[in-house]
Symmetry: D3
Subunit: 127 residues, 6 copies
């Protein structure tokens, strides 16, 4: 039984992603409920819940990784929301993406900033 990992993961997912986390899992229900369960158990139940790094720092790692890799616009938006949820300011998130211009190039930074803007606008009711 991995009920414990699942429960811990679901709680952590909601702490980070709020209702967007539930939407990701719901969307997976239509294609692979198993993967929805794995997504809760491993990333959130196993990794995010480890005490060696704060949740706030984990979200910075996550948005930096997603922005640098590119090609993950939906996940980047979920985690820009997550970063705001765990205490990063809009200015700090924007600045993290400016920092990416150095390491991943200006297009990666521009695409990440564009995703951040969409999230900020949605939060402001401007979408």
């Amino acid at each position: 039984m991995n009920n414990e990992r699942y429960e811990r993961g679901l709680e952590k997912l909601r702490e980070v992603d709020g209702e967007m986390g539930d939407k990701v899992i719901e969307a997976l229900d239509a294609i692979s409920p198993d993967f929805g369960r794995l997504l809760i158990e491993f990333p959130f139940g196993d990794v995010y819940s480890r005490p060696q790094l704060s949740l706030k720092d984990r979200e910075l790692v996550t948005i930096a990784a997603l922005g640098a890799m590119g090609g993950c616009a939906p996940q980047l938006k979920v985690h820009v929301n997550g970063a705001l949820n765990v205490g990063w300011t809009r200015e700090e998130i924007v600045e993290s993406f400016i920092q990416l211009a150095v390491y991943a190039g200006f297009p990666a930074a521009l695409n990440a900033l564009s995703g951040a803007k969409e999230v900020f606008d949605e939060r402001d009711g401007n979408d």
Copy 2:
């Protein structure tokens, strides 16, 4: 004249990377001194010196980005050193790379951890 940007960048580079920063610039002297100057002026003089994100947070963004992208072993090692220099613990750096397994896959995490181990060993005099 961009003396001011260069001076500010050189100071910031040394604050982050210590003597490894000087080595990167020296190595560039043999292939493109101009690029060495640009590297000091833009990333360090223009970006790292901006106050919107702490130097410590910038280094976390940097090692997360380098680890996620892969293929940047030398730069990853320079910035694992940098992350230690600005206050991250070995345990936190290791944990950041464990977090990458979720977003960039296990091979990216393994390669980043391998680079971190080399840096830790060098610092311990075990290289």
Copy 3:
């Protein structure tokens, strides 16, 4: 003359991709008919038609590669269709993308699963 490669490639393209293959070639006609010809001759005429690996295994290699690299949503969809055409089940295709979570990260797996779902829905007449 490369009529032979072209004819062999066109037959193979249709065997794999069905009418979606024809659409790719038609779309190329508007920008580069030459590239449409090269696409038939080399990938399909030269590579896919080699006997060293079954067509079914080739399609698994292809969807794994496209899903892992990311950024190829249109091609991934063409080849999820191709994978179904040559005998893979929906469950096996989904499972291949779950396997990608380990090597390319969860976002790559999520994006590939999302592409697979679109193809399944189109096949079911739900688009």
Copy 4:
């Protein structure tokens, strides 16, 4: 003061990208005016304005890099326009993307060609 870099960069940006460059900067105003300034100063003020490579050759490097990396559709379109502005023909741009099939794979080439087609259609008033 970096007025000089900014002025030189803005002029270069307009020489390359025409009014699309202004649109990129305007779009950045809504999310990070600072990044808009950095984008003018470093890429265009510092790099593009260096005499060691012609502007025409720089644009070829740029579209080849963007096409090979993938995931940069908006930037690729801006620079396909830029490449046309500085003297490359449509046929040469298409051929550069065909060349990418060898090094970055057929999907990267197809995506780049698709971006090029959109630009050509927009220029022809067919969008």
Copy 5:
């Protein structure tokens, strides 16, 4: 308790990777024993042990993904060994990498073939 996942994962790791799997875990002991445990539990205990795809097909997905992404030479070698262990022939592995030339480009194919050659030579005692 996740003893069950760990035990199932260790068994699967050994089935796929033989003694090379043990070496990967040993190497991780020196930098992060926790990550060694996670590597056994999630990829091997959770994913590889799912019945929806055969172990043989999983290894084909894995070498295709690693070869296409590039930058994972050590992991690619482990899994070329794994692919041989679960029943793929050398010729089929080589052919899978030839197939990658179409989707990830010739350099990716060349690098994967180079890794395969090293594995074959090591198995033949020619290293």
Copy 6:
């Protein structure tokens, strides 16, 4: 018969890569002579020999693509040599890689410059 493509490709390969091209083909003989043949026939016989882009411009596209993608150090070195063989100066090649810093990030530029330096040193007899 594809003798004609092979002959044309071999001639083009030698024109671009000189004896390094022969070494690439020789190395492939030990793992996959078929892939050596495909490498001559498609990239060099089919693509490089097309008249729509000059050989000199093709090499610029190639080194820009390889440098931007990263992870292709051996192929990058072959084509830095190729770029020199078809008429680019060392300064122009270096400048192309500086340009990559904007689009692919500073690490990609540093790695490409490092590969260029190795080629220049080998040509100078300093390796």
